[in-house]
């Protein structure tokens, strides 16, 4: 008997008493979506910038950065190995007020490692694209695509004596640019 069949039959023999799937519950979310989003993102170590214009974002936020990529323009061949990527700029799918996270879908990543391999990341987010909580977020995510992730701040760890260090393996900074 294949392991699969063996495991499934063992499970069937041992199933606990049937319990129903719970009824849907509606939850409240923060009233001031923008304020909550800002506050929660900053708590997670991220930065928030408000801008009117979407131009020259990388140069303004990281003057002097040489190895940069603006992912909004789609695929482009960088003339440096991705491991040396200093700043990457993306469009956020949407934001979540209750935790300051943004959704980053595969659709804007011509390489999946881009949002984590870069030394610094910037996400451009429209203010109207902020939802209240994770329930609203999943309602919005009808199609998950091959790979997608919520990112709520720079890479971090507290594994050395509970001391918070920003920039564990991934980005050392995470900036969300809020536009109208």
């Amino acid at each position: 008997m294949r392991s699969r069949d063996h495991i499934i039959s063992r499970i069937r023999e041992n199933l606990p008493e049937k319990k129903d799937y719970p009824k849907d519950t509606a939850f409240d979310y923060p009233e001031q979506l923008l304020d909550s989003f800002r506050e929660n993102l900053i708590t997670q170590g991220g930065a928030v910038v408000e801008r009117m214009s979407r131009d020259s974002l990388i140069q303004d936020l990281f003057p002097g950065a040489i190895r940069t990529l603006d992912l909004r323009r789609g695929y482009s061949t960088p003339d440096f190995p991705l491991n040396e990527l200093e700043v990457a700029l993306f469009t956020a799918g949407f934001g979540v007020a209750e935790n300051g996270a943004i959704w980053c879908s595969e659709k804007m990543l011509w390489k999946r490692e881009l949002p984590v391999i870069a030394e610094h990341v910037i996400f451009v987010l429209k203010k109207k694209d902020i939802v209240g909580n994770m329930h609203s977020a999943y309602e919005r995510l009808a199609d998950l695509t091959g790979y997608g992730l919520f990112i709520s701040g720079p890479s971090k760890t507290a594994d050395i004596e509970q001391s918070l260090v920003i920039g564990a393996h991934g980005p050392k900074s995470h900036t969300v640019v809020l536009i109208d």
Partner: protein, 453 residues
């Protein structure tokens, strides 16, 4: 060695034990801050518990659906009845791809199966990329906590470990310096890995996707840079729908570390072009636990570690005292299911205060299961000779009013008249760290009789 013996050794260094206690309690209080901010916290716990209970009672259906959907997405699904089979499956996938260098993100399941040791015997290099896991890997120790594996290590010790293995400056224990050194060291491993192994936080049946949550981003970096991804999961990790993630992702990080969400919550649905994605579904005793009427709900566990952070015993004895992959209260109700004799001391390493049940995001009645295990262990004869004798003796005394009264009088006389060094003998384990109370002149019965007149 039993838990009490290991705990005694841990407590010998009083200052260190106090530091460990305070560190864990700090994490517990962060959890409290996060939980109290959400007025719907209890509703979320109820929902999560119900979703998990429903899933466990239909586990065969959901696992089959998950497999079906994953395969439609081009994911290769394997099933392993036990640890040995799991290890062999992973070995074979790696050998097929001639993989020699492997990076691994946190997976308690692979710890349970001792995967690293198995692969190393096959001549492969396995690097644990979570910083805490890497520290203990270099120190050749098992993790002492499921979320913060190196919580028992001070920065000076990490500095020594890194100096020896990563050639960092001797004596430099600045966490930023140490973490930066680890970043450079591990980045090189990520870039050169042939394969990436990961755990699974949630396996979504509806879509066949696998969700992995980290603060470091090590899972994403490892998986997205390697040509082969092997995700290892226990059968209990499956959840029905994508929208259920809304409930679990709101509870997980808040319960674990007090954050609203982990830095990265990554959804892997399809392998990228040119790469392979595998999922290994593992039983290894879980279907047995499923069939245990009083203990099956321990399979609801989402591995947040909140029970460990709050447990006064765990905080003051450390994860290594449990000698099981998953320590603390949840470990104490999972381990006896695997080997009741070997882990018989674990359910007794508890004051039954119930704090674990209070903080559990999926409402596992941990303290009740601890109590039930004690009864089962007692009945099986594994509670140790001294306990069995004491229980038998207590039974005799308490069932005879005359003996009880006489013994009471004798005890009060002894406490009043015998010198301390005779009372604090080696049979008096209660008195090892505590002063016994001042004895009253009369028993309650004597006082009550006089009062009535």
């Amino acid at each position: 060695m039993s838990h009490p013996e290991k705990a005694t050794a841990f407590l010998k260094d009083k200052a260190r034990a106090r530091w460990h206690d305070q560190s864990l309690w700090l994490v517990r209080s962060k959890r409290d801050n996060a939980a109290t901010k959400l007025k719907e916290w209890e509703d979320l716990r109820n929902l999560a518990s119900q979703i998990k209970e429903h899933t466990l009672s239909h586990l065969d259906t959901y696992l089959s659906r998950f497999e079906e959907k994953a395969m439609e997405n081009g994911v290769i699904v394997h099933w392993a009845a036990d640890a040995m089979e799991h290890n062999r499956i992973v070995e074979n996938i790696l050998k097929k791809h001639r993989a020699k260098k492997v990076v691994k993100s946190k997976s308690m399941l692979t710890e349970e199966c001792h995967l690293n040791q198995h692969l190393e015997k096959c001549g492969m290099e396995v690097i644990d990329t979570d910083l805490g896991e890497r520290i203990i890997q270099l120190a050749k120790e098992p993790p002492s906590h499921i979320v913060m594996p190196a919580i028992h290590k001070k920065r000076e010790e990490v500095s020594e470990i890194f100096h020896t293995h990563l050639h960092t400056e001797k004596g430099n224990s600045d966490p930023l310096y140490l973490a930066s050194s680890a970043r450079a060291h591990l980045r090189e491993k990520f870039l050169n890995a042939d394969a990436a192994i990961s755990g699974v936080n949630y396996a979504v049946a509806e879509s066949g996707s696998v969700v992995i949550c980290t603060n470091e981003g090590n899972a994403d970096l490892g998986i997205n840079l390697a040509k082969v991804h092997i995700a290892c999961m226990g059968i209990e990790k499956v959840i029905p729908k994508t929208k259920d993630l809304g409930v679990f992702l709101r509870l997980l990080a808040r319960s674990a570390t007090g954050q609203a969400i982990t830095t990265y919550s990554s959804h892997f649905q399809k392998p990228r072009d040119g790469a392979e994605m595998h999922v290994v579904i593992v039983d290894n005793g879980r279907s047995d636990q499923l069939g245990r009427e009083h203990y099956h709900s321990s399979l609801k566990c989402i591995r947040c570690g909140a029970c460990m952070n709050t447990c006064p015993i765990y905080r003051r004895s450390g994860g290594h005292s449990y000698d099981y992959t998953v320590p603390g209260p949840i470990g104490a109700i999972l381990a006896p299911g695997r080997d009741m004799k070997k882990y018989s001391s674990l359910p007794f390493a508890s004051t039954l205060c119930g704090s674990c049940s209070d903080v559990c995001p999926v409402k596992i009645n941990i303290h009740e299961q601890l109590y039930k295990w004690r009864q089962d262990i007692g009945e099986a004869g594994y509670s140790g000779q001294s306990k069995s004798l004491l229980m038998a003796l207590a039974g005799q005394i308490l069932s005879s009013p005359r003996v009880y009264i006489l013994l009471g009088r004798f005890s009060r006389w002894t406490l009043r008249n015998l010198p301390a060094f005779l009372i604090n003998n080696r049979f008096n384990t209660w008195g090892k760290r505590r002063d016994l109370p001042d004895p009253p002149n009369r028993s309650f019965q004597e006082w009550y009789k006089k009062r009535k007149r």
